[in-house]
């Protein structure tokens, strides 16, 4: 279940920025050694369970998504800052989706990293790793968290989640 929800979260995130995003088959996680990659990781804290959401993307993809004008001397810093915000928005989306299952957690502060052919490795049997093609570039998402038992969405209508872009004035 978590794999499907996480995949939806990633695709909806990119669609919201007007980018095509398609899942790739398992095993297609490789990046070209020539690609410099940027990534971010953000902590999930919920009750007695802790975990993290992380992603790795080509630097070109992160740069192409920057929603503000770039400044050459600040470009690397701008890309890192945007990377952190991407992690925040991805985990926010996941949190909002899981609220429908009455699964709640707190969101930590993201960290950013960069390198080439970055690999995130889970303990055996743990975590979800997904790979996507986004606007002809690569994106890998990692979710190190689990749900105990068979969670199912609450259908009573008592859980209301505000959708992206929605504005409430009180």
């Amino acid at each position: 279940m978590l794999r499907g929800i996480f995949s939806d979260v990633v695709q909806e995130f990119f669609f919201s920025y007007g980018l095509d995003c398609a899942p790739r088959a398992d095993g297609e996680l490789e990046a070209s050694e020539a690609d410099t990659e940027l990534g971010s990781m953000i902590a999930i804290r919920g009750g007695d369970r802790h975990g993290s959401l992380a992603f790795v993307a080509s630097m070109g993809l992160v740069a192409s998504m920057l929603p503000v004008s770039t400044q050459a001397e600040l470009l690397e810093m701008q890309q890192r800052d945007w990377c952190l915000e991407m992690a925040n928005q991805l985990l926010g989306r996941l949190k909002n989706k899981l609220a429908a299952y009455e699964l709640a957690f707190d969101i930590g502060s993201p960290v950013c990293f960069s390198g080439k052919c970055i690999r995130l490795v889970f303990q055996p049997g743990a975590g979800v790793a997904l790979s996507f093609t986004v606007a002809s570039q690569h994106f890998r998402g990692y979710l190190d968290w689990s749900i105990e038992g068979d969670a199912s969405p609450v259908t009573s209508g008592r859980i209301r989640i505000a959708a992206e872009g929605e504005i409430y004035l009180f």
Partner: protein, 124 residues
């Protein structure tokens, strides 16, 4: 004199996004990079017409900042929360603490501007 809006978000990119929208419309914009800085800027800019505040930030989160500011000055600058969070539980807490608005990221510039105009009035 243009009205001042304080933008409190740990993402410089988001602060710049919001600044572009509001500055183009004629508002003065003051930025703060976390909850501590936000409290300081609210104190330094007592004339500000509105604060747009993230929730998940280092040091002090946005709702704790709102609570702190409200405890110090019940007639403080109105807050709009700008966040990835969308749970009704958090929204209800924000309302209880006195927030005047809630926007789920990513925001649409025209919608943000409409909300700011509604709460802060015209830029001048």
């Amino acid at each position: 004199m243009a009205k001042t809006v304080i933008v409190i978000d740990d993402s410089q990119t988001v602060r710049r996004q919001v600044r572009m929208v509001l500055a183009d419309a004629g508002y003065d914009v003051v930025e703060a990079s976390d909850g501590h800085d936000g409290a300081k800027q609210i104190s330094l800019n007592a004339h500000a017409s509105l604060a747009i505040c993230d929730i998940n930030m280092p040091l002090v989160n946005g709702l704790d900042l709102l609570e702190k500011v409200g405890a110090q000055n019940p007639s403080h600058v109105p807050f709009i929360m700008l966040t990835t969070e969308g749970s009704s539980e958090l929204i209800e807490r924000a309302v209880t603490l006195g927030a005047k608005g809630w926007i789920v990221k990513p925001f649409k510039p025209d919608m943000l501007l409409a909300a700011v105009r509604k709460l802060a009035g015209a830029p001048t």
